[in-house]
Symmetry: C2
Subunit: 452 residues, 2 copies
């Protein structure tokens, strides 16, 4: 079928079965769905129903549930299961997902579960890597070929297969020497087309792109995108093959990082789980820090205004333009910042491009500033504003837009230079900074033109 998003019927069926006490019927309906759909329906159930149902699903389905759920939800749910049930399910999970889950369960529980696993050695080495690195993302469940194997033997190895959890790890096949050091890469398709008696070492390409386990996940995703890789091997500094990162991980990372950038631009700490499943208190907590910090920075505007109290009292009409001017400055700055941040994230520009970027934005700012200055002048006159005030507004608009473009392009570059995430500092922080400095520009220009 084309698309399976109307899962409400499935949910209703599962609920009906559960209410009638027909747990087996509920299990059957769920296991008929594709994994992503099954987990969607499952996550709509009440928490006690979930805890009740999870150990009764096929082990493979239970493993899918814990893999597809958001990390924190999966950990909550796993916390409610018995050690025996959980160990059985974890055994079926992909090693990298299993390691993530165990990491979220805390050391005591994690040790208890590891002790009960069939094959703890597949998972425990993964526990030492940070979640958001290549090591934390890789799976150790892979089939490596030997250089001196024949192609026919290699194809047999694929055919007999270890009990591989995912056929995806078989698309690219990595070749190692006798010390398990990575020496090349081939793919099923090339093996199939090669002479069966040829050696893998002659068929493989020795030019293989790899990463070390402490590499940041975002860089790994970028590398895979850049070179069109479906998987990338993870090796020690001595090139000993540790594991492989597959394309589904890359897609996860890309979504996660874009979400974080967008949320940071909105000045909120990234939520770690599904929006509606995040409690109101957590959402508020993720936002309050930034809101307070920006509030305190924004009080600078009050200091600027108090400094010009006499001028504002003398010409009240000056204050009518305050929100307009700083709003326009903020908008121009946001336009610049969002463009620069994305160009940085995509690697279109880097720190060495600071001067060209500044020069680019300075000219863009000048053009936009001239337009806004002219429009602002006309608008002010339409309000029957005194001619000199209109002049001040117009000149201030020009200066503020140019200034906002400069600040908006420099802040992300500066943040990136200081190794702070540019998305954090430069979105709302930029507009707050432009508010205060924009006011200063406006009132100083007004003071000079009006001679007050």
């Amino acid at each position: 079928m084309e698309r399976v998003f109307d899962l409400d019927l499935v949910l209703a069926e599962v609920r009906r079965a559960l209410e009638a006490g027909q747990v087996e019927e509920a299990v059957r309906v769920l296991s008929d769905q594709r994994p992503a759909d099954m987990v969607d329906v499952f996550s709509e159930l009440e928490e006690d129903e979930q805890v009740d149902l999870l150990p009764r699903l096929e082990t493979e389905d239970s493993a899918d549930v814990l893999e597809y759920l958001d990390d924190l939800e999966a950990a909550d749910l796993a916390g409610e299961l018995s050690d025996t049930d959980l160990a059985r399910i974890v055994d079926e999970m992909e090693p990298d997902e299993a390691a993530d889950l165990l990491g979220d369960l805390g050391p005591a529980r994690s040790r208890a579960i590891l002790a009960k696993l069939e094959d703890p050695d597949e998972i425990s080495p993964l526990l030492i890597y940070h979640d958001k690195t290549a090591g934390g993302r890789m799976t150790s469940d892979l089939l490596a070929l030997r250089r001196r194997m024949t192609v026919a033997d290699a194809l047999d190895a694929v055919r007999i297969g270890a009990p591989v959890s995912s056929a995806e790890t078989l698309y690219f096949l990595y070749v190692v020497d006798r010390d398990n050091r990575l020496v090349g890469v081939t793919c099923l398709y090339d093996l199939l087309r090669a002479d069966g008696q040829a050696l893998v070492g002659d068929v493989m390409s020795p030019d293989v792109i790899f990463v070390e386990p402490d590499r940041d996940q975002e860089e790994v995703a970028r590398l895979m995108t850049r070179y069109g890789l479906l998987s990338v091997p993870v090796v020690t500094p001595d090139r000993v093959l540790l594991g492989v990162i597959t394309h589904d991980d890359m897609v996860d990372v890309m979504e996660q990082e874009a979400t974080e950038d967008i949320q940071k631009l909105g000045a909120t700490q990234p939520l770690d789980r599904n929006y509606l499943d995040t409690s109101v208190v957590t959402v508020a907590r993720k936002r309050v820090g930034w809101l307070l910090l920006l509030f305190l920075t924004e009080t600078l505007t009050g200091s600027v205004l108090r400094h010009y109290e006499t001028e504002l009292a003398a010409v009240v009409s000056l204050s009518f333009f305050i929100p307009l001017l700083i709003g326009t400055g903020g908008n121009a700055g946001s336009q610049t910042t969002s463009t620069i941040i994305r160009a940085l994230a995509l690697g279109e520009i880097n720190l060495g491009d600071a001067w060209p970027v500044l020069w680019h934005e300075l000219r863009v700012g000048l053009m936009l500033g001239l337009v806004m200055g002219a429009v602002g002048f006309a608008r002010a006159l339409m309000w029957h504003t005194p001619f000199t005030v209109a002049q001040a507004v117009s000149l201030a608009l020009l200066s503020i837009v140019v200034w906002a473009n400069v600040v908006g392009s420099l802040l992300p570059l500066l943040a990136s230079k200081l190794r702070v995430d540019p998305a954090i500092v430069s979105g709302p922080f930029m507009s707050t900074l432009v508010d205060a400095t924009g006011l200063l520009i406006y009132l100083q220009v007004a003071k000079m033109i009006l001679g007050i």
Copy 2:
């Protein structure tokens, strides 16, 4: 090697060769690089060098250049080539990329090139679909299996292969009936493990996810992510197989859409090419419309302020808090909007969730509003603001934050209901709206409390 981003040496080598007139040496150095790296170096060359060099590269490398470059750059470059050279290169490109390029060249040139192609039928059917749909993204270059083939024959078909441009289209193998209707899917790995004498129809899975050619590319990418697909087939309403969309297209779409969302949140129309390659005039043109529209909306704040002119003249200290209050409202609104937009984009919430979302944000707003109201009160007193003004500021802060959360959550949902892209309306438009309404709240509250 681990990573190949220091391409400056390669670029220097190519430049040196070109300056010494050793074009063949330049070609050799370039063709030693991985495609993505080669194109990076190539795009650093001067335009006349590029035009000169492109037809002299290996045809395969020239095709890579036109595929990897941004669409508009590729079209510019192709515009400079002779019909014969361009046709030779287009013949080597992936059909979907070739169709995009021809689409960008205009009908006359496009017809001229098509007439010279070896296999125009691979490309011309793709020209009718819009770039950003499944039809525009698919490649027609694929190997479909027949249901009644044996597995051994199927493997032979893969082995002999048509001259497939990309081994990726071979990972998932689609199965059709005699009318070329899609009936199932299998993969190389399953074929390898199956008995050679079994029929493909018995090995395949009939449960195949497909899309029609007019489906939006973003939905296709979401479908592929959701179900972990490396490729998805495109079929007519009668299920006749037209082509296949591969995972590299999905990754492109994901990046493109995230970039567009981020740029729209910053109130700028998406740039269609690499930032530094976009001319200053184009960047300014992409921004000026929004900047003007927001400016005109923002003049509402002036009208509100003029309405309260008497009150502002009577108590000048009221105006000190204007940027602070509307800034905080804007920040609270952005926090909400960015969260909601991303949740919508990821499908975590949909239109039916309007009430739960509103209820969520109302409570978050109340919590944040109470905190900000208290902090604002203290800050105002520290400035020796009259007690009643501090009271007004505090109450206004509470109301404005709650209001901003409501507007910030409703606007993206409303936009999405009206089938307007939520990222466009709700970023800067939200903060402009909150500016004007926030002022109204503040000054009305102040008027009541101060009795002016």
